[in-house]
Amino acid sequence: MDATEGGSQENDFTGDAGAGKMQERLQKRNQARIDDVERRKEAKESLSVAEEQLDYFSSTFKRERVCIEELLSSCSGADRAVVTQRLEEATAQITQLQKFLNDSVLFLTQYELRQAQAALQKLQASLTETRENALPKKKFAFRARSKVADKASVPVSDSPPPDVAPTPAGPHEVDGGAASDLCGFFNMDSEHLTKTSEEIQKRDVLLSHLSNCKVRLLGSPSTLHLKHIDSCEILCGPVATSVFVDHCKNSILSFPCQQLRTHRTTDTQVYLHVTSRAIIEDCHGVSFAPFFWSYPTLEEDYRASGLSQDINNWSQVDDFNWLAAGTPSPNWTLIPEADRKTNWD
């Protein structure tokens, strides 16, 4: 009995020891498991930090934005001193917000970054606007002494009329130079206008604010600028460098040039000789055909301009608002041969 008891005791003892060891092992494993879970949790947390910061970023950004907007809207009608103080505060806040955005660039996606930038720009714009409205700057400008500017019925436009009248912001000296070096026609309606070779040779020619006019430029200018043209027919000899067309509609243009840069133009036909490339930007309904026109000194003017008569890329037009390769831009077309003009009167 004793022996058996002792044996069983011994067994129990070894059993206890075994159980103890087992427990220890289990505990170790459990601890290891817990550690592992902890580690994973930590790893996950460190991964998800960006996500959390993203939420934090958008909510903070939004809050600040609303705050600034309120500050700005509270400016209207307030006292001058108060407005000044509030505007200053808004400026500081916008700067701070920009800094916050800059600091967050690392974890923001392109889209969010762009959105935030756009929002900031809007804020900046409305700040400027509020400032202009509430605290208008004293306007200072040199008086335009030119006769052209004195002429009545100068069309009101969103951009300053780019004729010889000095722009208020530009330094006087520079614009004085502009007046002496530019030649062309400004603010005319329903007229036949001609410039001879001597008048425009190697010069910058500007035609602006013309409507229902027929213009013939018989020579080779250095650069040709056409601005605010409506329902005109403009023919020009070889232009040594670029032709700029801006705000032009319902017109017919024809000239040889090195480059053609067309902006904000609608429903206009261009009979073109271009040795490098024509481009359009913010245009609709612009159509192209090869240049044809002749006047006695055309050959001579071609030589003076340095343009090659053999290279004409009139049909290759780049549209800066249509960057998709493969599909043609809807903003310009080629004039079918049957519809082209065949003579100028």
């Binding site: 800059n102 530009g170 000296e173 502009a178 190697k202 910058d204 840069r261 902006h263 780049d318």
Partner: protein
């Protein structure tokens, strides 16, 4: 050894510079780039997108980025600002009508934080044209003398004849070099 020293050392080993060439459309950015690289400049068309050229000059490896200046492309300029060592601003000296535009775009650029450390070289281009403004007139029109935030220099040049292009680039490299490579 501070972090700055390490960075300087790294840059020094590479001697590689990133130059960004910007300006209004028709200023002559691509022409300058091609002339500098010795390519044909007679058939250049308005840049739709950007050009990049890598060339060696004065022992530096230059990565020159030339980004189109059309209005619709200007909003993309910001994509090229990162780690720019030098900004080359090209002005069409004959384009009096858009000098104000030119000034506005330049001052917007100079407010960019990512261009804060860059040296500014202004090329008053097209000096070969009879009606072009002098570099002094351009300097005044762009109000460069009021500029305190950047090292700057204005140089009259002609991309067609190549006049002064090298002089401008040499000044730019000297200025950047003095800033980056002699910090230690």
């Amino acid at each position: 050894m501070g972090l700055l020293t390490i960075l300087t050392k790294m840059k020094q080993k590479e001697r590689e510079l990133r130059l960004l060439m910007l300006g209004l459309d028709n200023a002559g950015k691509t022409t300058i780039l091609k002339k500098f690289n010795g390519e044909d400049v007679s058939t250049i068309s308005p840049t739709l997108g950007f050009n990049i050229k890598t060339l060696e000059h004065k022992g530096f490896k230059l990565n020159i980025w030339d980004v189109g200046g059309q209005k619709s492309l200007r909003s993309y300029w910001r994509n090229y600002f990162e780690s720019t060592d030098g900004l080359v601003w090209v002005v069409d000296s004959a384009d009096r009508l858009r000098l104000q535009d030119c000034k506005d775009e330049l001052s917007a650029l100079l407010r960019e934080e990512r261009l804060a450390g860059a040296t500014l070289l202004v090329f008053a281009n097209k000096q070969d044209l009879p009606g072009s403004l002098s570099k002094e007139a351009i300097r005044e029109a762009l109000a460069l003398d009021e500029l305190k935030s950047h090292h700057w220099c204005i140089i009259g040049c002609s991309a067609i004849t190549g006049e002064n292009l090298l002089a401008g680039m040499d000044w730019l490299l000297d200025d950047i070099g003095a800033r980056i490579f002699t910090a230690d």
